[in-house]
């Protein structure tokens, strides 16, 4: 079996050093291409000239030729062919094996060039320049390669496991899992996957951050407005752009509010749907009601799609408020707010929406 240690360049034997030599590239003959016969201007005695031209034109994985430096096509071809012809081997080698060896040696001897930050071997960069020149000279349009995958063309595959995720729904126009800066967010607990990952909502890519096994989305601005504008369901799909595969994780539901509460200003509330029910509605002066495990009293209000920053106000006093699904609960720790008999208005308040909605009257007897 031939290995690269058998290669001799001129009279100099290459030593592998710490890099060693383990590559045995797959060699396939280049396909016949239509431009082959068109390119006749550059004279060369090398056996590799046609192969090199095909290889360069088929060279892939570069997204744009614009950043590649221009060069004298004839001189670059000559330089590349010279490098290829200088390699004398015990066995006949193909173009790709020779290029592989030359590029390997470039890196070992630190003959490198930096383009767009990437450290290429000098020969590799010559190939890129050569490719650019050929496209220009032959008038062949540069195309991104076919294997450049996209979400739309990705194959469906079970490539990861999502242990849990949420939230899975919100209401029209209502933020969900709202973060300090106001953006909405979903979280995904992912098991046993370390590759690149993108998250799509209804076919649209969303900003996503990964920390350890948890991915979190950032949904805000126009994207949030579009997503939550109407009642409906949106597939949540994870996409591995490296392997061009995607996997449906579930469905995110935008529920209808079935109408809105009316704000104290008289408009339809953006922050609160209809008040379905609430209670308790009365107590005696300075007397605990609906007593909780911690000894506090509690009000509950069932409402559709409450705003996450909801606060309950009782008789003008803002209460510690919690929300679980569509139930808003508010704690009365200090019974002194119940010291005066009479009606006390219960209000739902949202600072983010700058709204207050009247729930009803709590009677203190």
């Amino acid at each position: 079996m031939l290995c690269r240690r058998d290669l001799i360049v001129g009279s100099i034997a290459f030593t592998a050093g710490w890099v060693g030599s383990s590559l045995l590239p797959n060699i396939n003959p280049p396909n016949e291409v239509s431009h082959k016969s068109k390119y006749v201007d550059v004279p060369s005695k090398s056996n590799f000239v046609e192969e090199l031209r095909v290889y360069a034109l088929e060279y892939r994985g570069i997204k744009s030729l614009e950043k590649i430096p221009d060069g004298d096509l004839v001189k670059i071809e000559e330089a590349l062919l010279n490098k290829l012809d200088q390699i004398e081997t015990l066995e006949v080698l193909g173009l790709e094996e020779k290029l592989s060896f030359i590029i390997e040696q470039d890196f070992i001897s630190e003959q490198t060039s930096v383009l767009e930050g990437w450290v290429f071997s000098e020969t590799e960069l010559q190939l890129l320049t050569y490719k650019k020149g050929l496209h220009k000279e032959l008038g062949i349009a540069f195309k991104k390669n076919d294997t450049e995958g996209s979400f739309e063309t990705a194959k469906s595959s079970e490539f990861l496991s999502v242990k849990a995720w949420g939230p899975k729904k919100t209401c029209v126009g209502v933020p969900f899992n709202q973060q300090l800066d106001g953006h909405s967010s979903n979280w995904f607990s992912i098991v046993g996957y370390s590759g690149p990952l993108e998250v799509y909502f209804g076919g649209k890519k969303v900003k996503t951050t990964f920390k350890g096994p948890v991915a979190t989305t950032r949904i805000e601005g126009g994207f949030f407005d579009d997503l939550t504008a109407h009642e409906g369901e949106h597939d949540i799909v994870m996409f591995n752009p490296a392997d061009n595969v995607k996997q449906k994780i579930g469905v995110f539901k935008i529920a209808s509010k079935n109408g809105s509460s009316v704000t104290q200003a008289g408009s339809n509330s953006k922050a609160f749907g209809k008040i379905v029910s609430w209670g308790p509605k009365k107590t005696k002066k300075l007397t605990a009601f609906n007593i909780q495990k911690d000894g506090s009293s509690a009000l509950w209000i069932k409402t559709e799609c409450p705003s996450l920053d909801v606060k309950v106000i009782l008789g003008g006093v803002e209460l510690p408020t919690a929300i679980k699904r569509d139930i808003v609960t508010a704690r009365v720790d200090d019974l002194s707010i119940l010291k005066s008999s009479g009606p006390a208005e219960v209000i739902l308040s949202s600072k983010s929406a700058d709204e207050q909605v009247s729930v009803g009257t709590f009677h203190i007897k």
Binding site: G61, I62, K63, T112, K144
Partner: protein
Amino acid sequence: MFISPSELKELNRNKVSVVIVGAGPAGITIAMELETLGIDSLLIEAGGFDFPDEYGNDPYRGVVGARPYALAASRLRFYGGTSNHWGGWCRPLDREDFKKVDDVPLSGWPIDYDEAYQYLDKAHVVCEVNGRDYDASRIEEIKPDTVVPFTADSPFRTSIFRFSPPTRFGSRYRDRVSNSKKIHCILNSNLIKVKRVEGGKSSLLVKLATKEIVEIKSKAYVLAMGGIENARFLLSSNQDISVPYGGDWVGRCFMEHFGFKTSVVYAKSGLDYRRRKASKGDVRAVISTAPSQIKKGLPNIMMGLFPIADDQFLGKDYSKNKGLFDFSQKNGWHYELRTTVANRPNKNSYISLADEKDVHGVNRINLNWQISDEDFRSVIKCSDMFGLYIAAKGYGRLKKTNHVVPKPDKMLSTGMHHIGTTRIASTESTGVVDENCKVFYSDDLFVAGSSIFPTTGYSNPTLTIVALAIRLAKHVAKDV
């Protein structure tokens, strides 16, 4: 048992054998080991059982030099110490970390790996780490196709971290301390000063929760207060004595692990340098410097590759160019190359006393953490070397994204590991404590914790702190 200030006074009259200051991983481990050896100890903790209030945490405030550093946030002043926010990363230092390297001034320990890690197995037990094997090739869950391949002559190698649950020493060993008749632990008591008394002996001035200051005398004292406080109290205690504890090196050579992202790497998709499940507990693979390169003066650095968004210039199918890569059947992907390394020992990276005093009247500290340009350049050099290696081997390409030495005032991500300020050495000409962790120019004062590390690699210090704490307890037990 946990004792009150009045019980402490009673205990002090009868003299306890060993006094340990600081109930973090080192202090608690020493107390437990001494108990096993039948030696009684007094464990003094500045905090209580929970996060301190502003007054309690006041001594952790200090001044920092040009480079910002989270002095208070990197420490926890309550029972269990920094184990209360420990991430659980465990790995012994490498053998090479103990060796002197010709091109690295002040490198090398006076004890070797085997001496330092006599009690490594026991340290694993204390830290509740099940696996002991750190050879990546023997860990089934580190699949070869998920890491960059290296051979014996490669400039890098694959290394392994293991993980403690993490052990919160305070809660995990609270019952043991509480039920012990040999361990006496007093909370909310602050060391004020190490005092020299006659004949090379010492005593401790300690301010109790009652605000009363008592002088505690014992046969041996261990400072286990953390890498900054150990130095602060030696410096503070040295202010008015003619023969200073530990000599000129106290507070010098402050080291810390810092992160530095230099590059992006294109390599085959599916590389995995995250924490993963394994039969003997979670493991994480990292890329680290090979011994051959450490001998040549390169730092023992840790690197990991983490997927990032696609690149604007190099597409994922660049690997499909025949002859260029060893994974031409697969797409490649882009990874952020994250490096972690400690600055090398440098006398000008130091802790000194600030003029301002804390609520107990002890000088605050001034931290002047200096990372030399050479330290940063050596990280860049490692990254570049890794880039050349993977390119020559057909494993990938490297993109230089940040090859500029950060300005001295740039805040860096850190490991919150305070290393080197009471360094271990053969003689007082290069260190603060001797091979047995006894402070030079003292007969009865010892130091425990990462402040004694004279050099370090990338390994997190806790496992080593615990292993050395057990070793120190064995030694102190012989002394008393």
